[in-house]
Every structure is written in structure tokens, then in C-alpha cells.
Symmetry: C2
Subunit: 319 residues, 2 copies
């Protein structure tokens, strides 16, 4: 599928032959792009390479423990490697100057566009971290506790704690190896899966109290108005989990979360079971995404936004 695909061994050799290495993450960074990039950074440093990590967006505080060295022009990049980035568009404008000259891409998205000079991509894996585990091993780097923590973060977050369908026996084998190498799994799960901010709790309370059901309970809708978000002083990370709520309810095939950005702009998140296509629903209003999770942005009144998305949902449920 990708013409410039290379093996894990070749990727490791390319990295070992390079120096002054810039590691690129995708914008709106998550645990997989950051954990995999951090693991590669430590692996390269252990082989005495100069390297650093660049991301368009500020790295959220909850990833501070990864100890990522952020690139701030401390060297002139001679080799650029991207991690968990399927498409150049995902670098973000500020990083595009580097994103257009990627030497090596290490990724796990079947949709990888092949934008890099060399691509090491396994679309069957649930996380880039699972591939990075093999790349680091092929670099003949010993996986210490620090690297294990980085890789475990990517593995755990991108598999939703080993729950998503893409998880395989091999994923668990890698998890076991990382625990043997000292990964502090409980610290990491506490951080990403077992704690919620008081702000998130406030939003959840609001969401549950105001949730509406449509189409015989097959669609649940949460609206988060701007004044509520401001009152709670909610950050994007506080809102993240909310959009998973409506779809998680028994009998609900389409979960909709409408977030007010300003007076007449609304961001709509669409989550579905296998009974409806989230991407098609979002496309109806000019958005897009994956089969089970997609989104769009509309400019109109709240009632207008709600009616518009409900029309798309109705069409999708009738298919």
C-alpha cells in the first residue's frame, strides 16, 4: 500500500546512522504520539545521539512525567522522524516546515498517506508504541524503566486499557515485557484512567442532568453551553471524557455532544455503535472522522445545530 515502506530493522538502522534528530508528534498530542516519541528520544540518547521532540501544541501537564526534551532550536536538525502521524495535515501549521521533509515515519494508522521518504507502518497494531517497542529493541537499546513507562503510556492510552478491538495477544505480550522492565503501570493507569478532575465531575453532573434521548432512546444528546463551560472554567482535557458518555448508555447507538464555542458556533462530536456510521453523520454537516467517532463544526443557533445533527442521525439510523 505504501511504496516507501521499510522494515523495523531498516528503520532502526536509519536512526542509528543519523544524528541531530528531530522527533515530530501530531497536533493535539495524545499518549501514543508523546509516549512513543519520548521512548525514541531516550533510546537515541542512550546511543549518544542529539535529539529533541517537537509538537505544534503545548504538551499537556499530565504528560510531564515523560520528561520530554522539547525542541527549541538547540541544534540544526539533520534527520527528521515522525511518530504516530498518519498525514502531514496533522503536524499543524507551525511545524509544517519540518513536516514537509520527514526522513522516516513510524506509524500504525492504516490510512498513513506515505508522506515521508521512508515509512515504517504497521496498520494492524493498536498503538504506535507497540511498533516503537520493536524499533527500540532493534536499535539494541536496553528498555529501562523510563523507556518502559513511555511505551506503556502509549500502549495503554491508545488501546483504552486493552479494551479496543485492535488489541491482540501480542499487545499483552509487549505489556508484560514492559512491566518486567519496570513500567509503573499503576501510576500510569491512575493518571489516565482512574482519576477525573473536579471540573470533569461538575461537567458530568451537568451532562447527566440535562441529557436528552431521541428516536426511542437510540440517540442521546448532551449540550455543553459556553456559560456552563466558563463557570466551571473547563479546559479541553476536562471535556475530553464527556463525549464518550452518551454512546456508553445501553441501547444508545448514536451519542452526540454539542459544545458551544461562541454565540453561534458549535462543535459536535458523534460517537456510534456498529449500528451507525459516525463519519457519514458528521460528513452531512461538513465534518468527518472515523466510523465510530467523528465530528463537525456548525455556525447557527443551538436549536439549529441540534435539529441539523438530529436529521443526520435519523437518516443514519434508517439506513
Amino acid at each position: 500500500m505504501i511504496n516507501n515502506g521499510i522494515s523495523i530493522e531498516n528503520a532502526a538502522q536509519m536512526l542509528l546512522g543519523a544524528d541531530n534528530i528531530l522527533i515530530l508528534c501530531h497536533k493535539n498530542p495524545d499518549g501514543d504520539t508523546l509516549g512513543s516519541a519520548a521512548a525514541l528520544m531516550y533510546a537515541l540518547k542512550s546511543r549518544n545521539k542529539i535529539c529533541a521532540v517537537l509538537c505544534q501544541d503545548k504538551i499537556p501537564e499530565k504528560y510531564d512525567f515523560l520528561g520530554i526534551d522539547v525542541y527549541e532550536n538547540q541544534f540544526v536538525p539533520e534527520f527528521i522522524v515522525s511518530v504516530d502521524v498518519a498525514d502531514q495535515k496533522l503536524f499543524g501549521d507551525d511545524v509544517m516546515v519540518y513536516g514537509e521533509n520527514v526522513d522516516l515515519c513510524i506509524d500504525h494508522h492504516p490510512s498513513n498517506t506515505g508522506y515521508a521518504k521512508a515509512v515504517c507502518c504497521d496498520g494492524t497494531l493498536p498503538a504506535a508504541a507497540q511498533l516503537m517497542y520493536s524499533v527500540v529493541a532493534a536499535m539494541d537499546v536496553e528498555i529501562d524503566r523510563t523507556i518502559a513507562n513511555c511505551l506503556y503510556t502509549g500502549l495503554m492510552t491508545d488501546t483504552g486499557c486493552f479494551k479496543f478491538s485492535s488489541t491482540t495477544a501480542e499487545t499483552h505480550i509487549v505489556a508484560a515485557e514492559l512491566l518486567r522492565c519496570g513500567a509503573e503501570h499503576n501510576f500510569i493507569s491512575e493518571r489516565f484512567f482512574m482519576s477525573r478532575s473536579k471540573k470533569t465531575i461538575e461537567l458530568e453532573k451537568y451532562a447527566l442532568n440535562t441529557m436528552e434521548y431521541y428516536f426511542d432512546g437510540r440517540c442521546a444528546v448532551i449540550v455543553l453551553p459556553k456559560d456552563v463551560l466558563e463557570k466551571v472554567n473547563a479546559q479541553p482535557s476536562d471535556i475530553d471524557g464527556i463525549s464518550a458518555i452518551p454512546r456508553s448508555i445501553e441501547g444508545v447507538d448514536v451519542g452526540i455532544t454539542i459544545r458551544q464555542i461562541n454565540d453561534n458556533t458549535f462543535k459536535i462530536s458523534v460517537r456510534t455503535t456498529e449500528c451507525a456510521n459516525a463519519s457519514e453523520i458528521a460528513q452531512g454537516l461538513g465534518g468527518g472522522g472515523h466510523t465510530r467517532a467523528a465530528g463537525c463544526e456548525v455556525i447557527c443557533s443551538l436549536e439549529g445545530a441540534k435539529n441539523a445533527i438530529l436529521r443526520e442521525v435519523e437518516t443514519a439510523l434508517c439506513r
Copy 2:
């Protein structure tokens, strides 16, 4: 610790030497006691044994897929094995006639009281299912998809999707083996971790709306009164997830859920971070359990129950 402790191999030999086997679960059954019992049932059947499973409480619908044969006097028990039951008290009154004559207990609770004639217990394991995996293997039974699904259910539910601190590399190795044997992990995770009943949502809403904080926010308390539970027509399985909520909030070290059983009987669930010992808190009111998750039952008024547990929490937080 337990005088009558026996090895996995001896437990397997005892089972293979018996017939007309009654498998006992604990009351308020969860995924581990049911999954492990079901796996043992299928393993025994594959060795042509007559057997069935008995539990004081009705098995919740969401476990129907395990296909458990419930004991209804279809044979006279010659051998009684309990699974995931730390203490005779946990059988429940209706089952006690059998619970007083247990030949073999297979368990993973460090607090196991050693009530059975022979006890195969490994208190270091996060789930009875992990031990049962070894017992079934020692019985020389091939783990097919059915048995793998049963064991995976126990493993996944009792480790909270591999998140709890008791999870080890070996747990992931067993998970990998179960996936290789065909365990439908995505079906199981959807069922137990990615969907919530409408009743659970109603209870969550009530819980969030009425939650109280104590000791500078280090303790959060949820009370579920009988009339609320009845109004929602909540089954124990709808309540399961609620007790995880208070501890999951940022800054909370002790999460308490008080459930009213009848006018003056309350069941208290205690969940803690590493900053407090749940088992010690519950023991203060005659209960017990694990370091991070424990429980007790008290007979008094609601205010009395709340004050009593808060005194124990205060002591624990001061340690």
C-alpha cells in the same frame, strides 16, 4: 498462613478424583467468582464430571453469555469446591449448608480464612481467574474459546481492565494466552466496561448530585438510600460501578459508598489510593477486603453509619 494450603497440582488432582461436584460462588456475584466458576464447570464437564454452580443470589443477566449450569438439586453433591470466596460469611445464608462442608477452596484473597478442608490460594494474584487458568491447565484440559471467555471475564473485571496495582506481567501473559485461545475480548470489554445501563446512569446522576466531601476533599461519600434504589429498580449489577466514582475524583484518597439494604442495615464500600488502607478502614467496622478496596456492613441509622465510617477514615488519613 493457611495450614491446609495445597498446590495447584494437588487441587487439580483432587478435582479429577471427584465427581458430582458442586461449585460455590460468593453472594453478590461478580465477574471473577462467576467467570472462574464457569471455567471450572466447563473444564470438569470436558473430563466427563457431573457438576453445577450455586450462588445465593440470582446471576445477573449480563453474565448470561457464560452459560452457567445452575445447581437445582439435579445431583447429590459428593465434592464441594468454592471459587473466589475468602470467608464462609460470603456464601450467604441459603448456601451455608454447603458452605460449611467445602472440600476445596480456590481463591486469591490474602485474607482467606482457611475454612475449607483444602485451600489453594495465591494472595498475590489480582484475580481468582488467573489461578483458575493454572488449575484448568493442571487438569490437562484444553482451554477452548468458551473457557477462555470465562477466564478472561474474571481477569478483566477483577483487574479493572489491567489497571489495578495487583496486575503483573504474568497477568498479561495469561491474557495473551486467553486471546490466543480465542477469547472474545472486545465483546467482553464492551459488556463490562464500555456500556452502562440506563439504571446505572440514573444512579450516577443521583450520586453526583448528592456526593459529599470531607477532610479537605480527601474523602468523598455517596449514599444510595433504599427508596432511590427501589425507584430506579436497581439490580446489584447496576450499582457495581457507582462505588468506583468517589475515589476516582482528583484529590480524593478515600471513596465511600453507603448503600441502604433495609431500614437500619447499610453496606459500605471503601476504595482508597495508596494514601490509605481500605482493608483497615473496613476492619474498624467488622469488615475486610483488599488494601485498596474493602467493605463492611453495619446495623444502625444512616447518620450513625456515616459517622462511624468517617471516624475510621479520619484515623486512616492521619496514619
